[in-house]
Amino acid sequence: MEQQHDKNSENILSLANNLRWDLGVNLHDAVVESIYEDASRIARKTVSSKGNKAAYNLERKIDQLVTSRWLGFPIMLLMLALVFWLTIAGANVPSGLLAALLLDTVHPALKSFAAAAGLPWWLDGVLIDGAYLAMAWVVAVMLPPMAIFFPLFTLLEDLGYLPRVAFNMDSLYRKAGAHGKQALTMSMGFGCNAAGVIAARVIDSPRERLIAIITNNFSLCNGRWPTQILIATIFIGGAAPAHWAGLVSAGAVVGIAVLGIGFSLAVSWALSRSVLKGEASAFSLELPPYRPPRIWQTLYTSLIDRTIFVLWRAIVFAIPAGVVIWLVANVHIGGQSLAEYFIRWADPIALLFGLNGVIFLAYIIAIPANEIVIPTVLMLTVVSAGLSGVGAGAGVMFELDSIGATEEVLRAGGWTLLTGVNLMLFSLLHNPCSTTIYTIYKETNSLKWTLVSTFLPIVLGLAICFFVTQLWLLTA
C-alpha cells in the first residue's frame, strides 16, 4: 500500500517534470497572463469610471512636489530635521522626570530600605547600584525619545510619505549597490539601530537586506547623540573662540552624523563589490495613495510594536551589564579593583588609538546600551584617577548636572582635544549595542553575519582612530 503510493507519487512527479520540459521556459508568464486576462475582463464588466480625476490630481500634485528635482530633497531634510527636533526637544522633560523619579527618588529609597533591612553591602551594591541602576538608567534615557520618535516615524509611514523618500533616495543607494528602502532603515537607525535592523524586513532581496542590516549601525542612534553633543561641547566647542563655540560644536555633531551616512554608503558599496557581490538588483516599489493616518491607533500600536519591544530587549541586557559594571569596580585583587587592572593594562594600547583604558572598558561593559556609556566612563574615571568628592562611589554610575563639572572630571582623567575627537569617532564607529546584535542575529538567523556586523564597525573605528591619532601626533 505504502509502496504503491510512493510509486504513484513518483510517477506523477515524473510526468509533471516531462510536461514542464515540453511547455518550455515561459510557463509562469503564461499562467500569470491568463489570470490577469480574466481579471481585466471581469473588471471591464463590473467597473465604470466616469473619468473625474480631481481626487487623483491632488495626489499627483503632492507627488510632484515631494519628488521634484529642487524641492524633493529639501522637503525630505526638513521632515527629518523636524522629527529629530521634536524627539530631542520633546524628550527632555519626560526624561528629566523619569530620571528624577527612578534615579533620584527610587534609588536612594531602595538604598535606605536595603540598609534598614540589613542587606550585606555587596548584595545591596550588586542589586541596587548595579542591576537596578542600569535598568533605571536605560528606561529613563531610552523610553521618552523612542516614545516620540517611533510614532512620528510611523505617522510618516502611514501617511505614505516614507515610500516617496525611498523613491527619491534610490539613485544614491543604487550607486552603492543597495536598495532605496535602505534610506528608511537608515533613518529609522537614527532613532534606534535595533528598530532599523527590524525595519530592513521591507527589503525583498536578501543581499540588499543584509547590506542594510550590516550598515545600519553607522546611523548615529538616539543613545549616541547625547554623547556626541556632550563631548563636542566640552572639547571641540572649548577649543573654538567663545562666541563660535555653540556653532562649532553643533557643526561637529552634524559632521559626525553625516560621516556616518558616508560610511554606510561606502561600506554598502564595498560589500556589494566583495562578499555580497552583485549589482543592485531590483527596485519595484508601490507608492501607495496618501491617506490620512489614524493618530490614536498609530500612537498605540507604535508604542506596543516598537517602543516597548525594543525597550524590553534593552532592559533584559542592561540588568546583567549593571551587575558586571558594579562588580568590576568593586571586586579587588591585591588592593586593586578589576577595573583598575584592566585600565592600567589597556591604557598603553588605547593611547595608540587616541583613547584610554577607561573608554575601552566602558565600551565593553556598557554594551547593552550606548546611553550608559558616559555614566560608566565618569564612574570609571573617578575610580581609576582616584578623584574624591565626585560621584556616588565605586560601581555606581552617575552623571553631572553641569557640563563644567563633567569637563573637570574628564580632564582630570587625562582627556585632551584628541581624546574627544577620537571618542566622537569611536562612538560612531564601534560595535552595535547588544540589543542590536541580538536583533541582527534574530533577523539574519546567521552567526556569521552577526559577527560581521559586530566586528566590521569596530575594526573600522579602531583603524580610523589610529590613523587620526598618529597623523595628529605627527603634525602636532
Binding site: 490577469y36 481585466s40 507627488d63 519628488t67 549589482e279 531590483a282 516599489l285 598618529q470 597623523l471
Partner: protein, 345 residues
C-alpha cells in the same frame, strides 16, 4: 602622557598591518581565497569535466575522440590518455567502435554534475545580480563542491527550475533529461521562423559576442538571408548579422506558421512623463524574483501604463498601471517592451 614610539613609525606599522590584512582577506585575490581554491581536488575536477564532455557528445550525437577531449579540457594528449584509462578502470566509460561511450554509472555521475552546474547557473541568474558572463565560470567551479542535496534544496527554493538560463534543460533529481530537439541557427533556411532555445556558453569569446548582440533564449528569430559567409536575421525585430561559425553556437527550435516580429519594440524607459503605452512584454533579461515581482505589480502584456513622475534624482520613475503607482528603475524599464498608445490630446 607616555608615548612609546615616534608617530611616524607607528603609522608605518599601522599601514603595513592594514596591507597585510587586505592581502589575506581580499576577495578572490587574497591569500585565504587562494588557499580555499587550491584545496579543490584537481584530479576529481578533471575527471568530472571529462564525464560532462562525454555526456555532451552523447546528448548531441557527436562522436567523441581522444584529441577532442584533450582540446576541450586543455590538457595534453598524454594526460588525456591517462585520464581515459582511469575512467575506464573506474567503470565510468567504455570503448565502443573506436569511440568512447559512458556506462550507466558514468552517465548518472555526469547527470549529477550537470544538474548541479545548471541549478547553480539558474541560481546566479535569478537570485543574485552577478553578470551573465560570469555564470558559467562560477558554475564550473561550484559544480565540483556543491553536494547534490544542497543543489536540490536550492532548486526547491527556486521552484524547481527545469531550464538553466541558457535554455538548457536541467536533469531532474531522478536523472531524467528530455531528448535533444534543437538545431543550430546556421542550419536554418531563408524565411524560417524559429525560437532561440539555447546559447552555448563556450568558448567564452564567442559567447561574449553573442551576448553583446543582445541575443537570449526565448527570442524569436526570422532568417532574412543566409550565405556561406554570413547569416542575416531579425531577432525580435532587430536585425543582426553573424558568421555561420558563430551562429552554430546558437540552438534554435523551428516555429511553424507564425508572423515574424518585424518591428523592434520600444522600451518603457523611453516614455516621457504623461505619456501612455500598452505593455507588450518583458525581456528575458528580466529574470527570477524580479520578473515575478513586476508581473505581480501588474506589468503584464496588454496592460496600460502611463509614466507619472520622476524621482528627485531622475531615476527611478513612477508609472501608473492598473490604478496603482509603481516605481521602477531605468535599468528595469529597459527590459519592458511597449507600444505607444495613439496620442491623446
Amino acid at each position: 602622557m607616555l608615548m612609546t614610539a615616534h608617530p611616524g613609525i607607528t603609522l608605518l606599522i599601522g599601514i603595513s598591518g592594514l596591507l597585510a590584512l587586505a592581502a589575506a582577506f581580499w576577495p578572490q585575490k587574497g591569500l585565504l581565497a587562494r588557499i580555499a581554491r587550491g584545496r579543490l581536488n584537481t584530479q576529481r575536477v578533471l575527471l568530472e569535466d571529462a564525464l560532462k564532455f562525454f555526456f555532451d557528445c552523447e546528448y548531441k550525437n557527436i562522436s567523441c575522440r581522444l584529441n577532442s577531449i584533450a582540446g576541450s579540457l586543455h590538457i595534453s594528449a598524454d594526460s588525456a590518455t591517462r585520464l581515459l584509462s582511469r575512467l575506464r578502470s573506474m567503470g565510468l566509460i567504455q570503448l565502443q567502435e573506436d569511440s568512447f561511450r559512458l556506462t550507466d554509472a558514468g552517465r548518472s555521475y555526469a547527470l549529477r554534475i550537470i544538474r548541479v552546474h545548471r541549478i547553480w547557473e539558474r541560481y546566479l541568474a535569478d537570485e543574485t545580480s552577478i553578470g551573465q558572463m560570469e555564470w558559467h565560470g562560477e558554475a564550473d567551479l561550484k559544480e565540483h563542491h556543491l553536494s547534490l542535496e544542497a543543489a536540490d534544496q536550492l532548486a526547491a527554493q527556486m521552484g524547481n527550475p527545469v531550464f538553466d538560463p541558457h535554455g538548457d534543460p536541467i536533469p531532474s533529481a531522478r536523472g531524467e533529461l528530455p531528448a535533444y530537439t534543437g538545431q543550430p541557427l546556421s542550419a536554418l533556411k531563408e524565411g524560417d521562423i524559429a525560437r532561440i532555445i539555447h546559447i552555448e556558453d563556450e568558448p567564452r569569446a564567442i559567447y561574449a559576442q553573442i551576448v553583446a548582440l543582445g541575443l537570449y533564449p526565448g527570442m524569436q528569430v526570422y532568417v532574412m538571408d543566409i550565405t556561406e559567409e554570413r547569416i542575416q536575421f531579425a531577432a525580435n525585430g532587430e536585425e543582426c548579422v553573424l558568421a555561420p561559425f558563430f551562429a552554430a553556437n546558437i540552438t534554435v527550435e523551428k516555429l511553424s506558421a507564425r508572423e515574424p516580429i518585424q518591428q523592434k519594440a520600444e522600451l518603457l524607459s523611453s516614455l516621457k512623463a504623461g505619456e501612455s503605452a500598452t505593455i507588450k512584454g518583458l525581456s528575458a533579461n528580466c529574470r527570477g524574483q524580479q520578473r515575478r515581482r513586476l508581473m505581480d505589480l501588474g506589468i503584464v502584456p496588454g496592460a496600460q501604463i502611463t509614466a507619472s513622475f520622476r524621482s528627485a534624482s531622475g531615476d527611478p520613475v513612477a508609472y501608473r498601471v492598473l490604478g496603482t503607482t509603481i516605481a521602477i528603475r531605468k535599468s528595469q524599464a529597459d527590459n519592458i517592451f511597449i507600444e505607444r498608445s495613439d496620442a491623446k490630446p
